[in-house]
Chain length 358, copies 2
């Protein structure tokens, strides 16, 4: 990688059309000049939009693709019809061909994951890719994975996710030994799913190599930021992510309602306006936009389909930091440094679960 | 049941000692006079505490038990050592013997569930008990189950939880046809776990009998209150519950920080004091204290172990409403009205899952 971070953009992804991607790129570039862009999509649509952001012309290239993957295409259909000739596929291919440092798309998550897995392939030693979320907490941002790449996962996969999450924490947060927690329904060792308890046993042994295994964490440890990386399978992780988003919006609604309840409250709210702006910024989902696909031979960022240019800029920043801090090398180190862990997972005996209430 | 609601209290449960239970009972009784109490626990500890709330004397009885189940006892140990002679067991036995309309305990959840299942037994036609939470949303309170009785569950169990949740909604919220949603990672039919999609197929057919099946819901539908009853297995449900609690606390911390940031904000907050008190009441976990054990031959309420008398009073109110509105009869009707549903679940063929990203 040279000093310029080269970004491959699926400009056709997202609910709001390609303008979001180009405007987001302009916003991002105005702060980080050492970037260049390849915008994948329909040339006739993208040319006039690029004319609107002329400052990007010298560092941008439009790469024409005929097809666009729809937001409701099933992953298998998307792969069949869009392989080779869609903007999404082409954005990934640029990473594979070494002409971009990361790819970004606001398109259909399932289709993007299917295509990325097919195009970039899982890293040797990693069984499955995961989607990682950057999760704001009262302590600092943490990493949570998998938030929805695949449903279910055995102990081996949970351990792989730990390697990936630890590497991402080292890359993004410059933490030498990030702490890892396994999401579970209780902190007692008897509780939870078989595969989670089995993963705990393996991580305990591997603790100290590139990460420190903290133990089980519960749902409320997410907001507390108890550990740097929270590991779970994609079903639970996705529901936790959306539950947290929903709860934050719910409390936001309560705040608005409370402050509009009477004149005195409205006056107080007006006076405390600056504080509320700070709060609103903190709760603004655009500031934490972007899921990270981990475990593939290349960095892929999923921007939220419904976000605007500010959100897209945030997602670009995430990919930029990953590329700049060479997350791929750190993942490679993680895979190399955990040989015992992987051997363990492959040969580990299954243990009995007692059916116990949580 | 006569007009008085008779309450069996495990007075020794909870982290803060028996005073919480007796004070909570006094607070509750001051608002609802048609109640009576049996306080189970060590007579020598409870007598002086009951002397402190003399107004309860005429409607209270202390039933001595030697043993107390510790908060960290494993369920199997609790059952072995506490069966027959612990305050927790005795509180349940009072319900079984028909001398109380519901039992309440702030003790160890796992132990309480194990004992309740053993003492009261699952209702005929229901495969497993569940813990239901009353979940505040921006629309109205809804019911979420299972939030931690058991880890995992097949389509049959998810359908049973739907029967139980619908009955509770009819009893607590007076809804004739509550809407039911299955918690999943996406609303498309191809997504999610096998058992969830299978349960969806069965509930679709049974829709209209005591409930209306809405479809899949996602994590953010919890806070929105999209449906009256959200059904999931205990691992995911417990993590969703604690994630939501944690996020609400996290946002609460942000609010406090924002309003203490400078003098002007503090002034504004002081002026809007009433609005913030309303907000604080809304976010106060004591107001939504109490998990409901459903699916057993008797009503059991689990109060949070760390709550105070206000929280205990809230949990008493929950049990009171369940008993007064005869939730047991409504559950019986649900079990009787869903014969096709149960037959379906027992004979339903397993469908293939495509491994698809969420």
């Amino acid at each position: 990688m040279n000093d310029t971070i080269r970004i491959s953009v699926d400009a056709m992804g997202g609910d709001r059309g390609p303008r979001v991607a180009l405007e987001g790129a302009r916003l991002f570039w105005s702060e980080r000049k050492n970037t260049s862009f390849i915008f994948h999509g329909r040339q006739q649509e993208l040319e006039p939009l690029l004319d609107e952001v002329p400052e990007l012309r010298p560092i941008s290239r439009i790469a024409h693709s005929d097809n666009v993957i729809a937001m409701d295409d099933k992953p298998s259909n998307a792969l069949r019809k869009g392989r080779g000739n869609s903007s999404m596929w082409a954005a990934l291919q640029s990473v594979k061909d070494g002409e971009a440092d990361f790819a970004i798309s606001g398109g259909n998550t399932g289709a993007l994951m299917a295509m990325a897995t097919f195009c970039l392939r899982p890293i040797e030693g990693i069984s499955r890719p995961a989607i990682a979320a950057i999760w704001p907490t009262i302590r600092t941002d943490i990493i949570v994975l998998d938030v929805g790449a695949t449903v279910g996962g055995d102990a081996r996969q949970l351990c792989d996710f730990s390697i990936l999450g630890a590497a991402l924490a080292r890359a993004l947060f410059d933490q030498e030994l990030p702490t890892i927690g396994l999401l579970n329904v209780g902190t007692e060792e008897v509780k939870g799913r078989d595969e989670v308890r089995e993963a705990a046993r393996i991580l305990q042994k591997a603790s100290g190599h590139g990460m420190v295994y903290h133990g089980f964490v519960e749902g409320d440890d997410l907001g507390k930021g108890t550990v740097d990386v929270v590991v779970t399978e994609g079903f639970t992780g996705n529901i936790a992510l959306k539950t947290a988003e929903g709860t934050a919006r719910q409390v936001g609604t309560y705040i608005s309602q409370a402050l509009k309840a009477d004149m005195v409250s409205m006056l107080g709210a007006a006076i405390a306006g600056q504080a509320f702006q700070a709060l609103r910024r903190k709760l603004d989902p655009r500031n934490i936009n972007g899921g990270v696909f981990l475990g593939l031979n290349g960095v892929v960022i999923k921007s939220h389909g419904g976000t605007d240019e500010v959100g897209f800029k945030g997602a670009l920043g995430l990919g930029y930091e990953m590329a700049r801090n060479d997350v791929m090398t750190k993942i490679g180190e993680g895979v190399r440094d955990f040989p015992t862990l992987k051997g363990e997972a492959e040969t580990a005996p299954q243990t009995e679960t007692e059916a116990k209430p949580a």
